[in-house]
C-alpha cells in the first residue's frame, strides 16, 4: 500500500502525458544508449515544442519527454501509447508534416526525428487528451464485433441518409490535406546474386560471408540503423559490444564494391521468380528533399538467391485493460532503454511468460530505473536481482486514465496485489517474421519448443530463411545461420564461399511457456489494439460460427489494421484454437500479403505523374502547328492539332467550318503521320496480305493503292487502311492511328505462328515518314509546285489510287499516294520525318495563292462523316463487314483471318444493323452521336431500339447537322423518317434515313 502512496506523486506527474513537455526537459532520458552525443533536435507534437536527439524516433523522443499518450484507438477512441519500438506498431499513429506533405497514420516508432519535425495526433476531437468520441467506450458493450450487421436496417432509407454518413465521419484514422504531394519519387532496377533481407546479426553475417566470396550482394533493412536487435541488447559479440560489432561489419561491407548496403529500405513483397519490391526512404528523415531529389525510391530487385533474415516480433499477453499508455512489449522497453536511452517511466513492472522478459528487468535495473515487479506466469521462473519476482502470477487489471498508474496482480497464492508502475513491459514470446515466405505459397508450420509459427511449405523460388525469422532466436545461432545460409545459397550459383570463424555470442534459450491471455476478469482484454478487437469479440465470433481464421478476421476485423495484425493475430488464433478445442496449427494462419508494411502511392507511381504519366507522341508538324496557335487533342498517345483558330474566330465551329469549306472549295493540308505504317516485303508479301485482309490483294498492280478491311478471327471488322504496292515484293500498309501496334502484333503472329514458311518480312515505319494529306480541287496544282518537275502527277500519269516514289523541293526523297479520306481530289505525300517541319511550311507557302488552309482532326472528322467513311466509332469491335455495308468485300474465294466465322447465322440475320446516314428533318436540329434510333411512332424503349448514331457533325457543305450510324435493315430504309432519341440529355429529334455518302456519292471529285 505504502508503495502506491510513495509513487502517487511520480504517477500524477506522469499522468498527463505532457507534463514533462511543459517542463521542457527530457525527464525520462537515461544515460548511455546509441544516441549519446547525438545532435540536439527540436520538434513539435500537437503544437507543443520538444527536444530530442539525432538518432531518436518520434516515439523515443516523446517518451524521453514524458509523453506516453500518442494516439487514440479506431473504434472506442481509447487513449493509446506506443506498444512497440518498430514497424509493427498498432497504436502510436500520427499525422506527420502538413500541407501537401501531410502524412496520415505515420508510426511514431519508426518516424526518424529531424530538426523541425511537425507531428499531430489524429482521430481525436477536440484534443488527444479530451476526445469527444471516447463516448464510444462507454457503449462498447453495444458495439461488439459485427454489431453493425444486425442493425441500422430500418427504415431502409436511413442507411445512406443518416447512419452511414455518421459512421463514415467517425471512421478512418488520419486525414489528407487534399493538396498535391509536392515531392518527387523515383524507381530503379537492381540485380544481385544474393539479396539479404534484414541487417541484424543473421543478415550482416550472411552479407559478410557472401561479400567476402565476391558475390553481388544487396543487404536491405527497414531501420535507419543496421544491427537489428543488436542495437537493443546489452550482450556483446566476441569482445565487442553488439553495436561496435555492427559498426565493424558495416565498415567492412562498405569497403566491398560488390556489396550494396541499403538502410531505410523495406522489402515490401516477394514476387515471382526472385523479383522483390523494395522501398528506400531517401528523404523521410529530413525536413524536405533537395530539389529534384526523390523522397522515396521503388526498387525492383532481380535476385538469383534471397535470404530472409527479418528477425522476429514480440507478442503481447492479453489481460483486462492491457491497452493503457505505458503497457508495452518488453523487448521494446529494452530497446528504448539500450538504444535510445529512454524509459517510458521511472517505475516499470515486467510481465512475462519467458526468460526474455527478465532481460528487460535486468537492463532497466542496470540503468537505474525502478523495477517495481517482475510478474512471471511460470511457477518455476528464474530468480531476479534487484526486483521483486512474482512467479506463477498474472496481471488481472490495470489503472490509469491517460496513462498507466498501477497494475493489479493475482499471485500464485491467490491473493491480489496492486503494484504501482508507469509502464508495464509485457512479453508473451516471439513470432518469427515469416511474412515474405507467405507472399506466394508458403504456409508456416508450428514449432512447439518456441510456441510459434516458422516458415514452411513452398517458399518463394530461391528464398532461404535464417536466424530469428526461422525460429533460431539466440545470437550465436543467428550468426551461424547467416554464414551457413550464405554459403549454401552461393554454392547453388557455383560461387564458393566460406563460413569462417564465427565470434562468440550469447546462446541462451528463451524457455517460453505458452500463455496467451489472462482468463480472469469481466472487462475487456485487447488483442488488436488499433481496431479494438478484444478477447470477448473472438469468443462472440466463435459463438456465431465465424470459426475459420478468415471468418474470424473478417467478422471481428482482427489483424486488418495498419499493422496487419503483426502483434495480434497470434493471440486471436490461440484463443480460437482453445474455444474450438483444437491445436493452434489445426486452426491455421491467415494469409500474409504484400506489402510487408504500407507503401505510398507516390513511390509506386515514381516519375509517371502529371503530364509524364504516359509518353507523349508529337507529329512532325507539331512545332509549326504550335506557332499557328493550333488547339491540340490527345489521340491515344499522340497530340494532334484539332483545329487552327484564326484571329476573330470566337467559337471552334467557326474555325472548323472554315477549314472544311476552304478544303472542299480550294485546298487544305493535314498532318496524317499518326496513321500506322508497316513495311511488308518478301516473295510472299502479296499472299500474306491476302490472309490479313478480308479483300483480295494478290492482283494489286505495282504502283497502285487499295483500300483494305481487316477482320478479327471472329469475323468482326477491327481495322481498315490502305496497302500500296511499290514492287512485286514490297507493300506499305497503313493502319488506323489507334490500332497501329495491334495490327503489327497480329501480323507478326500470323507470320511466325500461322504461316511460318512464308517469305515475308515486317517492320514498322510509322515514325520514319512525315505524311501530309493535301486535299481539295487545287491539291494537284499545289503539289505540282512542290514535286520536282521530272515527276508527272497529272491525272493521266498519276490517277486515283496511284502511288510512287518521287522527289520534292529539289531532290528530297518522298512518297506520293493518291488517296482520299475527305472525298476530294487528294494526295498524301510523305518525306523523311526530319524534313516534315520544313515540308509543311513549304506546302503552306506553295498553297498561299490558293488560300490553302491547314486543317485539324475536327475538320478531318467532319469531311469523313460527309463521305460516310467508317472510323473508330464505327469500327467499335462489335460490327462486321456486313454491318459496315462492306459484306461483299469479304472474299469467299480465299482464306483470310475472320472469313469463316463471319458466316455465322447470328452475324447474318436479315434485320442486321447497317451503316447509313441521317439528316435532321428540321435542319436546325443537331444530330448527336450516341443517340438511339426508334421508329417514327410507337414507344421509346430498349425493346423497340432500332440502332444508334455513331458519329455526327455539323456539315458546313450541307448547312445542317448530319450523322452516320447503325440501323436495323438500314440499307433498305432510305427515305424513312425515324426518331433519334437521347433521353440522357432530354432530346429527341426526327431524322431521315439517307445514304452515308452525303457529299459526292459518285466519287467524281476524287477521280478528277
Amino acid at each position: 500500500m505504502s508503495d502506491v502512496m510513495v509513487n502517487a506523486g511520480s504517477v500524477a506527474f506522469q499522468a498527463d502525458g505532457s507534463t514533462g513537455a511543459r517542463k521542457g526537459v527530457q525527464v525520462n532520458r537515461l544515460d548511455g544508449g546509441l544516441i549519446k552525443g547525438g545532435k540536439p533536435l527540436s520538434f513539435t507534437f500537437d503544437g507543443k515544442r520538444f527536444k530530442g536527439f539525432e538518432g531518436d524516433t518520434l516515439a523515443s523522443a516523446l517518451l524521453a519527454n514524458g509523453v506516453r499518450l500518442m494516439g487514440r484507438s479506431f473504434k472506442y477512441h481509447r487513449p493509446r501509447g506506443p506498444l512497440t519500438s518498430g514497424s509493427e506498431e498498432p497504436n502510436a499513429l500520427v499525422e506527420l508534416r502538413s500541407g501537401g506533405r501531410q502524412e496520415p497514420n505515420t508510426r511514431a516508432t519508426v518516424a526518424e526525428l529531424y530538426d523541425g519535425l511537425e507531428a499531430n495526433s489524429q482521430n481525436c476531437w477536440p484534443s488527444l487528451q479530451h476526445d469527444f468520441m471516447a463516448i464510444n467506450d462507454r457503449f462498447s458493450n453495444f458495439l461488439t464485433a459485427g454489431f453493425y450487421y444486425k442493425t441500422f436496417m430500418w427504415p431502409a432509407a436511413f442507411w445512406e441518409k443518416l447512419y452511414e454518413p455518421i459512421i463514415r465521419k467517425a471512421a478512418g484514422l488520419g486525414s489528407i490535406s487534399f493538396a498535391a504531394d509536392p515531392d518527387a519519387y523515383d524507381k530503379g532496377f537492381l540485380h544481385c546474386d544474393l539479396l539479404v533481407i534484414g541487417a541484424g546479426p543473421t543478415g550482416l553475417m550472411a552479407a559478410l560471408t557472401a561479400g567476402r566470396a565476391g558475390a553481388q550482394v544487396i543487404i536491405a533493412d527497414e531501420d535507419f540503423l543496421l544491427g537489428g536487435r543488436l542495437n537493443a541488447e546489452t550482450f556483446g559479440i566476441g569482445d565487442l559490444t553488439g553495436a561496435a560489432w555492427v559498426e565493424q561489419a558495416q565498415a567492412e561491407l562498405a569497403s566491398m564494391p560488390n556489396v550494396r548496403v541499403m538502410p531505410r529500405t523495406t522489402i515490401i513483397g516477394a514476387f515471382d521468380h526472385g523479383i522483390y519490391g523494395a522501398v528506400e526512404r531517401t528523404a523521410d528523415h529530413v525536413l524536405a528533399p533537395e530539389a529534384g531529389k526523390p523522397r522515396q525510391i521503388l526498387w525492383r530487385i532481380y535476385s538469383k538467391r534471397a535470404m530472409l533474415a527479418a528477425g522476429a516480433t514480440e507478442r503481447p499477453i492479453a489481460f483486462e485493460n492491457n491497452d493503457r499508455p505505458g503497457v508495452m512489449l518488453a523487448g521494446a522497453v529494452r530497446a528504448y532503454a539500450n538504444r535510445w536511452a529512454v524509459t517510458p517511466d521511472q517505475t516499470v513492472a515486467v510481465f512475462t511468460n519467458n526468460d526474455d522478459g527478465h532481460r528487460t528487468a535486468a537492463d532497466l535495473i542496470a540503468k537505474g530505473v525502478k523495477v517495481t515487479a517482475v510478474i512471471d506466469t511460470r511457477a518455476d521462473a528464474p530468480a531476479v536481482e534487484g526486483a521483486e519476482l512474482f512467479a506463477g502470477a498474472q496481471v488481472i487489471d490495470t489503472r490509469g486514465r491517460l496513462g498507466l498508474e498501477s497494475v493489479r496482480l493475482r499471485l500464485a497464492s491467490g491473493i491480489t496485489r496492486d503494484v504501482p508502475c508507469g509502464a508495464l513491459a509485457v512479453s508473451g514470446g516471439w513470432n518469427p517474421n515469416v511474412h515474405l515466405t507467405c507472399h506466394q505459397r508458403g504456409r508456416p508450420a508450428w514449432r512447439e519448443d518456441i510456441a510459434a509459427f516458422v516458415p514452411a511449405g513452398e517458399l518463394p523460388q530461391n528464398m532461404a530463411v535464417a536466424g530469428a525469422a526461422n525460429g533460431d532466436f539466440s545470437t550465436a545461432a543467428a550468426l551461424r545461420a547467416g554464414a551457413d545460409g550464405a554459403v549454401a545459397a552461393l554454392s547453388e550459383l557455383g560461387i564458393e564461399a566460406k563460413a569462417g570463424e564465427l565470434p562468440e555470442a550469447e546462446d541462451a534459450p528463451i524457455n517460453v511457456t505458452p500463455f496467451w491471455y489472462v482468463k480472469e476478469g469481466k472487462g475487456r482484454a485487447w488483442l488488436d489494439q488499433q481496431n479494438d478487437v478484444t478477447v470477448k469479440d473472438v469468443k462472440l465470433a466463435h459463438q456465431e460460427n465465424f470459426r475459420s481464421v478468415e471468418h474470424l478476421k473478417r467478422y471481428t476485423t482482427l489483424g486488418m489494421a495498419t499493422d496487419q495484425g503483426k502483434t495480434s493475430n497470434m493471440g486471436g488464433l490461440a484463443i480460437m484454437a482453445e474455444l474450438a478445442g483444437k491445436q493452434i496449427p489445426e486452426v491455421g494462419t491467415t494469409m500474409f500479403r504484400p506489402p510487408y508494411t504500407p507503401v505510398s502511392f507516390g513511390v509506386m507511381a515514381g516519375r509517371s505523374v502529371g503530364e509524364e504519366f504516359r509518353p507523349t507522341r508529337k507529329t512532325p508538324s507539331h512545332k509549326w502547328a504550335e506557332e499557328q496557335g493550333a488547339v491540340f487533342v490527345e489521340v491515344g498517345q499522340w497530340l494532334r492539332a484539332q483545329w487552327f483558330p484564326k484571329a476573330g474566330e470566337t467559337h471552334w465551329r467557326q474555325s472548323v467550318d472554315r477549314e472544311v469549306l476552304q478544303t472542299r472549295n480550294s485546298v487544305g493540308i493535314c498532318d496524317v503521320t499518326t496513321l500506322g505504317k508497316i513495311d511488308v516485303q518478301g516473295k510472299d508479301a502479296a499472299e500474306f496480305l491476302n490472309k490479313m485482309y478480308a479483300n483480295a490483294f494478290a492482283k494489286l498492280p505495282v504502283g497502285k493503292v487499295r483500300y483494305g478491311l481487316m477482320l478479327r478471327e471472329d469475323g468482326i471488322a477491327y481495322d481498315d487502311g490502305t496497302a500500296a504496292r511499290f514492287a512485286e515484293d514490297h507493300f506499305v500498309v497503313t493502319t488506323t492511328t489507334a490500332n497501329a501496334v495491334l495490327v503489327y502484333r497480329n501480323m507478326e503472329f500470323a507470320r511466325q505462328c500461322l504461316f511460318p514458311d512464308m517469305d515475308v518480312q515486317l517492320i514498322s515505319t510509322t515514325e520514319a515518314w512525315a505524311q501530309f494529306a493535301v486535299a481539295g480541287p487545287n491539291a494537284r496544282k499545289l503539289l505540282q509546285k512542290v514535286v520536282d518537275p521530272e515527276f508527272d502527277i497529272s491525272n493521266e500519269a498519276f490517277p486515283f489510287m496511284g502511288c510512287g516514289e518521287i522527289t520534292v523541293a529539289g531532290g528530297c526523297r518522298a512518297r506520293l499516294f493518291r488517296i482520299s479520306f475527305s472525298g476530294e481530289l487528294a494526295y498524301e505525300i510523305a518525306v523523311p520525318t526530319r524534313y516534315g517541319d520544313a515540308m509543311i511550311r513549304k506546302l503552306m507557302e506553295a498553297g498561299e495563292e490558293f488560300g490553302a488552309v491547314p486543317y485539324g482532326t475536327e475538320a478531318l472528322g467532319v469531311m469523313r462523316i460527309e463521305k460516310g467513311h467508317a472510323a473508330g466509332n464505327e469500327l467499335n469491335g462489335t460490327t462486321s463487314a456486313l454491318n459496315l455495308g462492306m459484306g461483299r468485300m469479304v472474299s469467299k474465294k480465299k482464306d483470310c483471318i475472320g472469313n469463316t466465322l463471319s458466316e455465322r447465322e447470328g452475324m447474318n440475320q436479315e434485320d442486321a444493323l447497317k451503316l447509313v446516314g441521317f439528316k435532321p428533318v428540321n435542319a436546325a436540329d443537331p444530330v448527336q452521336a450516341g443517340a438511339h434510333l426508334m421508329n417514327a411512332n410507337g414507344e421509346v424503349s430498349a425493346a423497340t431500339d432500332q440502332g444508334y448514331i455513331t458519329s455526327a457533325a455539323y456539315s458546313p457543305v450541307l448547312g445542317c447537322s448530319i450523322g452516320i450510324g447503325f440501323l436495323k435493315r438500314g440499307d433498305s430504309r432510305k427515305g424513312e423518317v425515324i426518331r433519334a432519341v437521347n433521353p440522357l440529355e432530354g432530346k429527341e429529334i426526327q431524322v431521315e434515313v439517307v445514304s452515308a455518302h452525303f457529299v459526292d456519292p459518285e466519287g467524281e471529285r476524287l477521280r478528277g
Partner: protein, 416 residues
C-alpha cells in the same frame, strides 16, 4: 432469430449470450433435390432464392473451403447497372433493384450504399460512347447523367484538372451505383438460406460427378457421394476445373485480378470513380480505407496473387487522377481468380448433361451480379427455363454468332 437494433441492445444488456450461429454446420444428407457446388455469393444466393422464391429447401451448398472465401470476399465491392448491351443491362438492372431491397429482405445489414459511380470521359469519342451507354441504361430503366468537366469538378475538385496527361472532359454518372460490404453478402445469404432449411456444408470438395447415360445423379465429394436430382455448378474462378470433371471444355480462361486497400483515412471519396484512361478505379469503404484496382495481370493464373508491374500500373493511375494521394499508403493487396469469358459476359445455362447446370464466366463483374445471378439461376433450376433477363447467357452463343461483347474486344478474355 431476427436481427434488429432492439435485439442488439437486449443482448448487450444480457451478456450477448443469445446470439446463435449465423449458419449451422450440418453433415451432408444422402441426397438433395438440388446440390449447389460453391459456397460463394452466387451459390448462396441461388440457394436462398430457391428456398424463398420457389419453396425448394431440400438443398445443399457444398463449399471446398469456408463460405465467402472466393471472389465475393476478394472484390472491390462495387455494384452498378450501367451496361450497354441488350443481353446484359436488363439483368444488371434486376440485380441493382434486388440490392436495393436486399437487407430488409434477408435481415442482414450488408451496408448497401448507393453513393454513385462516375465513369470519367477523356475524349469526344468516349463521350459519344458514354452517351450511347447512358441512353441504353435509361431505356432499360436504369439511371444515368452525362457530366461535363465542371460537373465532375463540382463533385471531386481534387482530381487532376491542372496538368493531367489525359484531361478530364466529363463523365457518365450512375447515381444508384455504389458499394456493398462484400463479406456480409455471403453471410446474409448464408443465414437466410440456413434459416429456410438449406444445408451449408463447408470444407467439402467435389471430386467428381456421377453421370449415367447422360444424366447427372450427384457428386462425389471428400465427404462421400451426395445424390441430387439437379447439380448446379457455381464456382466462378474454378469453373474449368470443376466442369472438366464432367468432360466439358468451356469458353473461359482463369485470370488473376489484383485489388488493393489503403490505410484508413477520414472521408476522401464519397462515391466510386473509374479512370479508364489510366486503368484505375477507386472507392472508400465505410471503415475509411480506399479500395482500388485496375487491370488484370493478363496471364492465365489460378494463384490468388499478382505481380509488381500491375501494382505499379494501378497506383500510377491513382496518382495521375488524384495527386493528393502521394502520401497515402497502400496497406494490403490481394488477388482473385476471374472466370474470364470469351466475350466478357457470363453464362447461366443447362449443360449437355441432363440435370447438370452451369453458372460462371462472370469476369470481374460477378459481385454486382450476385442477387440477379442467384435469382435467375434459381429460376432456371426450378423451372428449367431461363429467366427472361438471362436468356442471352447461353453456352452455345459463340457457335451461333451471338456474342455479348460490351468492350468489343473479341475472343480475348484478358481484354474484357
Amino acid at each position: 432469430m431476427r436481427y434488429s437494433g432492439l435485439k442488439v441492445i437486449k443482448e448487450a444488456l444480457t451478456g450477448h449470450k443469445g446470439w446463435r450461429p449465423t449458419w449451422r454446420d450440418p453433415e451432408p444428407k444422402k441426397s438433395y433435390d438440388v446440390v449447389i457446388i460453391g459456397g460463394g455469393g452466387h451459390g448462396l444466393a441461388t440457394a436462398y432464392y430457391l428456398a424463398k422464391n420457389h419453396g425448394i429447401t431440400n438443398v445443399a451448398v457444398i463449399e471446398k473451403g469456408w463460405i465467402g472465401g472466393g471472389n465475393v470476399g476478394r472484390n472491390t465491392t462495387i455494384i452498378r447497372s450501367n451496361y450497354l448491351l441488350d443481353g446484359n443491362e436488363p439483368f444488371y438492372e434486376l440485380s441493382l433493384k434486388l440490392w436495393e431491397g436486399l437487407e430488409q429482405d434477408f435481415n442482414y445489414n450488408a451496408m448497401v450504399s448507393q453513393r454513385g459511380i462516375l465513369n470519367l470521359v477523356h475524349t469526344d469519342a468516349q463521350r459519344d460512347a458514354a452517351r450511347r451507354r447512358g441512353n441504353a441504361m435509361i431505356l432499360n430503366g436504369s439511371d444515368a447523367e452525362l457530366l461535363d468537366t465542371d460537373g465532375v469538378r463540382a463533385m471531386y475538385p481534387f482530381l487532376n484538372f491542372n496538368n493531367a496527361r489525359f484531361p478530364i472532359k466529363g463523365g457518365l454518372l450512375h447515381r444508384r451505383g455504389g458499394t456493398v460490404r462484400h463479406d456480409a453478402v455471403a453471410w446474409g445469404y448464408a443465414r437466410g438460406a440456413d434459416l429456410r432449411g438449406v444445408d451449408i456444408i463447408q470444407n467439402c470438395e467435389v471430386t467428381g460427378f456421377k453421370i449415367e447415360n447422360g444424366k447427372c445423379l450427384g457428386v462425389e465429394t471428400t465427404k462421400g457421394f451426395i445424390g441430387a436430382n439437379k447439380v448446379a455448378s457455381c464456382v466462378a474462378g474454378s469453373s474449368s476445373r470443376v466442369m472438366e470433371k464432367a468432360g466439358m471444355r468451356l469458353p473461359i480462361e482463369s485470370h488473376v485480378l489484383q485489388a488493393f486497400v489503403s490505410e484508413g483515412l477520414k472521408p476522401v471519396l464519397d462515391g466510386v470513380i473509374t479512370f479508364g484512361a489510366g486503368h484505375f478505379y477507386c472507392s472508400q469503404s465505410d471503415k475509411g480505407g480506399l479500395v482500388f484496382g485496375g487491370d488484370l495481370d493478363m496471364y492465365n493464373s489460378y494463384a490468388q496473387r499478382g505481380n509488381l508491374p500491375v501494382v505499379e500500373d494501378v497506383m500510377e493511375g491513382g496518382m495521375a487522377l488524384i495527386p493528393a494521394l502521394g502520401r497515402v499508403r497502400m496497406l494490403r493487396s490481394w488477388g482473385g481468380i476471374m472466370d474470364m469469358s470469351m466475350d466478357g459476359s457470363p453464362f447461366i445455362d443447362k449443360t449437355h448433361v441432363d440435370g447438370l447446370y452451369f453458372n460462371g464466366g462472370w469476369c470481374y463483374g460477378g459481385f454486382k451480379a450476385t442477387p440477379a445471378s442467384g435469382w435467375c439461376y434459381a429460376h432456371l433450376l426450378a423451372t428449367d427455363t431461363p429467366h427472361k433477363v438471362a436468356t442471352a447467357y447461353r453456352l452455345d452463343r459463340f457457335r451461333r454468332g451471338c456474342m455479348i461483347d460490351e468492350k468489343g474486344q473479341g475472343a480475348q478474355p484478358n481484354l474484357h
